[in-house]
């Protein structure tokens, strides 16, 4: 029962809890920020698992992403403030069942599978980052670049779709 385990459990619970809050709050910004903190908890879990670079990256990335999400929430939701306590869900029973089944299946796999011995030797953060860098620009150069390219195309596509057509007023 190492400190790592305790903290992992704590932050895991935090992440899940914030995940639940996301869908239970009526205020949209709150749910966005909840999601943000959930992702941050995940980032902290990465730090706990000595994946320092990933953790920092996750925390940084998620902060910005979720704030953008927040602005979108405000833009599109009918009652962003959540004042009217509107019921924004449907087919609750089915999704509950689905979530339940997914959870149970995953847990079953986790608890039943034999994962083999735990690895003890963890490379230092700097070394990890160096290895990651070398991996990214070495063996997985192609995958990394294509990922980068995909993000670019996604950005262009999203912008294209979002930009109002020039001739909106045209017949």
């Amino acid at each position: 029962m190492s400190a790592q385990l305790i903290f992992l459990a704590f932050f895991g619970a935090a992440a899940v809890w914030f995940g639940v809050v996301v869908f239970r709050t009526h205020s949209m910004v709150r749910s966005a920020i909840a999601l943000l903190f959930s992702q941050t908890a995940v980032g902290v879990m990465f730090l706990l698992m000595q994946a320092e670079f990933l953790g920092v990256l996750q925390i940084m990335m998620m902060a910005t992403e979720m704030s953008v999400m927040a602005i979108f929430m405000v833009m599109f939701m009918m009652d962003p403030g959540g004042m009217g306590a509107m019921e924004m869900t449907h087919q609750k029973r089915l999704s509950l069942w689905a979530g339940g089944i997914g959870l149970v299946a995953a847990l079953a796999v986790i608890w039943l599978a034999d994962w083999g011995p735990a690895a003890m030797v963890i490379p230092a953060a700097a070394e990890q980052t160096a290895d990651l860098g070398r991996e990214l620009l070495g063996r997985s150069m192609f995958i990394f670049q294509s990922a980068g390219l995909t993000i670019l195309t996604a950005m262009v596509a999203a912008t294209m779709v979002a930009i109002a057509p020039e001739t909106e007023h045209a017949p």
Binding site: Q91, S95, A98, G102, A105
Partner: protein
């Protein structure tokens, strides 16, 4: 060789020219006949020198055409040529007013050429060919006035009689050729034994046909329907002589039996023909019957073993009978009929012509200074000496008696009777032709001795009794003929003699009528057969028809039934189709649509619903993947 060509080709070319030019007939005829005569004379002189003139023309590979001018054939050729010339001269006058003279003269010249070919033939094939040609031309000439009633029928009858007899010649010739291996006549003559006997009898049959011997003598009387020159040439000297010539040439080969047969046939014909001649009411028919009788005598001579005697008589008879016929022709011109009753007194109207007629008649009867006497004596001598004397001699004597009788009757008929008012038309050509022949008939007697020497045939030594017998027979015949009417002379024989001694209806009755009866019977039978067949067919047809009709009815009923069944089937099919199949199909369709509807509900368009479905799918897939190892 040129002489041969001349005798054969001159008449032929003349005939061609006449047909082509159709004018200057008299000139052409005379040149043709004249040249033929000159040729024949040349041949005769050549042959008389002892060495025969021969020519061979290529024909079939192993059967060349041989032409032989031996003394025998040369004399015959000369005889034919002279008679032909004189008859043609007579003919020009006789046919003066006939519209179809070119056809007449052409046919006559064609006949002369054919006769010369027959006489001069050296081999059997040529002889056969010539034999056919003269038969054919005789048919044409007899039927010359084909538009007159009975003429065509007479021509056909003559043709049929001779043709059926010719069969004998064909088979006989072929038997001889078969036996000898070559068609040359002289070579075949030394065959002996049964082929010789058979050939002899067959040749006899041919001779009987051609020379009008009993029982085939009837066609000669009917042949008188032709113009008189035809009768004079063909039915006295040439065509009828062919039979005798055939037997004379083949005499050396004939065995005893054949000779006896020939003799008997000749004798019988001589007697019967004589009786028929005596009983005839028509002058030309009388002369025809006499011709048959004379040839009977010739056959007796051949049968008696003296062919030379027969030859001599043949030559004499040729001249005598042709002149008699020409005289009859003149009388016919005057009285336009040849019936003895009609001709009564005709002789008195033309004393010159009657004188010639009388001389010829006497010559035929056998009065000494004339030719007939010498030839008849030879025959009587031969008959006397022949082994079958007891049979042949009385027949010969009876024959010569009857000859005298009917000649006397003829002269009496012509002479007695009222003297007609004779419109004496000028008949120069006819008189000239007749007079030459009469002179020949009279003067030929003494010539026989040289002829006999030429033919170096052994003429039988005439016992002193022979001339006496001959003379007695001739004179008594004449007296009987002149004085007693034939009716009383013949007595009971008058009826049958007049109708030609038809035994059981004669040739018509024996042959024609049975043949026609058989034919009609066959026709009837065939008709009945046909009727039976048709009946059967009709019966079958009707049966089939009824059968078909019944089956058709059955078929119709069956088809109706089938129709009903089809309808029934159709209805039931439609019922099942609508109620069962369509229902099933539409049911299926409905179910499919329903399923489709349910499936569509699945595609709600709700994103969250589809997300749920996605999750379900993923869950299923992972489940399968995880579970798979345990099961596979």
């Amino acid at each position: 060789m040129t002489m041969l060509a001349l005798t054969l080709l001159a008449p032929l070319l003349a005939a061609g020219a006449i047909l082509a030019l159709r004018r200057a007939l008299g000139l052409l005829v005379l040149t043709g006949a004249g040249l033929g005569l000159i040729g024949a004379a040349g041949l005769f002189l050549g042959a008389a020198g002892g060495d025969p003139v021969t020519a061979t023309l290529p024909f079939l590979p192993s059967f060349p055409v041989l032409l032989l001018a031996s003394p025998l054939t040369a004399t015959l050729s000369l005889m034919v040529a002279t008679v032909a010339a004189m008859v043609l001269v007579y003919g020009i006058g006789y046919m003066a007013k006939d519209p179809e003279r070119p056809r007449f003269f052409a046919t006559m010249l064609f006949f002369i050429a054919a006769m010369q070919l027959l006489v001069l033939a050296g081999d059997w094939i040529t002889l056969l060919a010539a034999w056919e040609m003269i038969g054919f031309s005789s048919y044409l000439l007899i039927g010359f006035w084909h538009s007159r009633a009975g003429v065509a029928e007479a021509a056909t009858r003559a043709f049929l009689y001779t043709r059926s007899a010719d069969l004998g010649l064909y088979i006989g010739a072929f038997v001889l050729i078969g036996a000898a291996g070559t068609s040359e006549i002289s070579a075949t003559l030394n065959t002996t034994g049964t082929p010789a006997l058979i050939a002899g009898l067959l040749l006899l049959i041919a001779a009987m046909g051609k020379s009008a011997q009993v029982p085939l003598q009837d066609w000669l009387m009917r042949a008188m329907a032709g113009p008189t020159p035809v009768s004079a040439l063909l039915h006295s000297a040439t065509l009828v002589a062919a039979g005798a010539i055939l037997l004379i040439r083949s005499a050396p080969m004939l065995p005893g039996g054949a000779l006896l047969a020939i003799g008997l046939v000749g004798g019988a014909t001589a007697v019967i023909a004589g009786l028929i001649a005596l009983a005839e009411r028509d002058l030309k028919r009388l002369l025809a019957a006499s011709t048959a009788s004379q040839y009977g005598l010739m056959l007796v001579a051949v049968g008696a073993g003296a062919p030379v005697a027969a030859l001599l008589h043949l030559i004499a008879h040729a001249a005598i009978k042709s002149s008699l016929f020409l005289g009859a022709g003149i009388f016919q011109h005057d009285r336009d009929s040849t019936d003895l009753a009609a001709l009564a007194g005709a002789g008195r109207a033309r004393p010159g012509i009657f004188a010639g007629f009388a001389i010829a008649a006497l010559a035929l009867a056998g009065i000494p200074p004339l030719a007939g006497f010498y030839s008849k004596d030879a025959i009587i001598a031969a008959a006397l000496q022949s082994p079958a004397a007891p049979w042949l001699l009385p027949l010969t004597l009876a024959g010569s008696l009857l000859t005298g009788a009917y000649m006397g009757r003829a002269m009496r008929a012509l002479w007695s009777g009222p003297a007609p008012q004779s419109a004496r038309s000028r008949i120069p050509l006819m008189a000239a032709g007749m007079m030459v022949l009469v002179l020949l008939a009279a003067g030929m007697g003494p010539g026989f001795a040289t002829l006999e020497h030429l033919l170096d045939g052994a003429l039988p030594e005439a016992a002193p009794i022979v001339p006496i017998l001959g003379l007695v027979a001739g004179v008594s015949g004449l007296a009987l003929g002149w004085l007693i009417a034939p009716a009383r002379l013949l007595g009971p024989l008058m009826g049958p003699a007049q109708n030609g001694f038809r035994i059981a209806g004669g040739m018509d009755g024996l042959v024609a009528r049975p043949a026609r009866a058989i034919a009609s019977a066959c026709a009837a039978f065939e008709a009945r057969l046909l009727a039976a067949q048709i009946g059967m067919i009709r019966g079958i047809g009707l049966g089939i028809a009824r059968l078909v009709e019944r089956s058709d009815a059955a078929l119709y009923a069956f088809s109706l039934w089938i129709g009903r069944q089809n309808l029934h089937l159709g209805n039931r099919a439609r019922w099942t189709d609508t109620n069962r199949i369509d229902a099933a199909i539409f049911g299926l369709v409905a179910r499919v649509i329903a399923a489709g509807g349910r499936a569509r509900r699945l595609q709600s368009g709700f994103i969250h619903r589809e997300l749920a479905l996605t999750f379900a799918g993923i869950a299923l897939v992972t489940g399968v993947l995880l579970a798979a190892p345990y099961f596979l």
